[in-house]
Symmetry: C2
Subunit: 372 residues, 2 copies
Amino acid sequence: MTIGSFYPPQRTLMGPGPSDIYPQVLQALSRPTVGHLDPLFIGMMDELKQLLQYAFQTENTFTIAVSAPGSAGMEACFVNLVEPGDKVIVCRNGVFGDRMRENVERCGGLAVLVDNNWGEPVDPVLVERALVAHPDAKILAFVHAETSTGALSDAETLAKLARQHDCLTIVDAVTSLGGVPLRVDEWQLDAVYSGSQKCLSCVPGLSPLTFSQRAIERIQRRTIPVQSWFLDQSLVLAYWSGEGKRSYHHTAPVNSLYALHEALVLLKKEGLENAWQRHKDQHFELREGLEKLGIEFVVDEASRLPQLNAVYIPEGVDDALVRQTLLERYNLEIGAGLGALAGKAWRIGLMGYAARSENVALCLKALETTLK
Amino acid sequence: MTIGSFYPPQRTLMGPGPSDIYPQVLQALSRPTVGHLDPLFIGMMDELKQLLQYAFQTENTFTIAVSAPGSAGMEACFVNLVEPGDKVIVCRNGVFGDRMRENVERCGGLAVLVDNNWGEPVDPVLVERALVAHPDAKILAFVHAETSTGALSDAETLAKLARQHDCLTIVDAVTSLGGVPLRVDEWQLDAVYSGSQKCLSCVPGLSPLTFSQRAIERIQRRTIPVQSWFLDQSLVLAYWSGEGKRSYHHTAPVNSLYALHEALVLLKKEGLENAWQRHKDQHFELREGLEKLGIEFVVDEASRLPQLNAVYIPEGVDDALVRQTLLERYNLEIGAGLGALAGKAWRIGLMGYAARSENVALCLKALETTLK
């Protein structure tokens, strides 16, 4: 059998990511490849760093994009900051908190779990209790915006508690970056990772990452090497440093970085505050329509993510069949439930370029017709 | 300062990779993004697996592309196959053999080094001696085509020795895949990784990977979990398996996988044997011209890679200035020396789409003029 070229359809992506990609980003993606040590490329990398600093609202020197998806960004934080025997308080209120626990354990660390129900934010009272009970804990890890449930946690308060108990913070901002306020410096977060394919509306495959000076110092004080060569950020830093000669670490994903640069140029042009507001506005439009259809949200309004709307599947409705119809008839993707919410919820994303009235209108009408 | 879109120049890429990208591959790259669990995307992944099996000349069920560059593919092999305390014989005749040692040590393994001079192939006699001296060794690791020197080692013979001593093989085929014969099944190689940006002429950022049944069984017999969550192939397998329901592991780099699919469609269309011959033919053209310029090769003819020509920088020539002139005047990139060859050699790549007469002609004339 001869395999020919693959021509994907034009979908509207309203799942938990990848989100709709800006057309300009796809254009940037296919520009001519240059070498990863080409001076012009290095100049672009310097710009990219500045743009990432803007998106993260940080002046951290160590602000880069990991050459792999968000889960590698998560792992980069843990393998660099956790040494065998280290105690890490891990907040778990969805799939990604549990993945953090996995990471701690695979680093030889000891994970102390703070559990909240799926769909709820991380409870600072429980976190404080754990910090008091474990004065030897070195790190507090939590998910800012849980992609599996659509719950937003109070990163500022959690980070403050961590500092009071002399802990660094590792923060999953995969779904929050660009969609809701995230202020790395003001909130004094230490290690924050994200993904390219959510509210930045770039192609999947890169993980923006920033480390505070406190995090860098912790890495420099390590006594055993980082267990991952690929994710050892002390090696990667030499490539991204911008000071003097670049040293080769690995071949950068050149074209994907063009795309991320373009996505961030667009974000800067719109302005972070405007982007946050747009997500909120579109969320209100979507919410109004969903409520008219009698569809209920998983997360309380106070901690609901505008960019990721987890809603209960109405009773008697065939989950898979509805999603299949949306995809086949309307070329519209919404997300299935994950983990504890599998089969019980849908996740409707309004991320980045997907957060537009035409998307909301399509989604509402298509759902209305399909659910009839 | 406002940062605008980045418009890279059109370079001719004749370094050690990334190589010139097929125009069709760049077109495929920018096709509309679909979800990583979209049935049409999963269909493409199944085709991609078949195409990778063709490129590797294997029927291994576990044949995938790691969602990260070649160095992550290397790490995927080591973290999955090496357990703490395992003895691994590592052949070192360039930068990438030494990176293998790093990987073994970071996995808690014990690396036994077999050293050959830079520019020489791995010597099977030395390898056999090491296998005899270390009957408890569990793995033999070597680089098929050393990207840092341009030397080709005899993978078939080395793998045979490994089997005779009950060792699995980990083989770096980053620069060999698609450029010189590589027959995973016939040679009975166990864990083989490559890169997208070399002789496949795809964008950088993906690492084709294949595991034999023996390797899979070794992984299944592990007593401690793989230290990397992201690279734990027992988890990844569930996503790529193609049997029944796909389980989510990480968000696949959708567009990069379109590009790899297209690059492999082109390779299949040309035919592997034809591609190997084309690399050889272009190498002869280049060699003839370089010899006329009095330029000498680092590697003996018998083990010289056609796709990566490491040549000594003529005496009295300013290395950096020549490369800068080629880049600025001719938009031509050739590679600097790496490691022990830094400042002493250039690496001229003829990889994939770069292996064309027009590239060779440009390179020879530009070098001739610049060296005058």
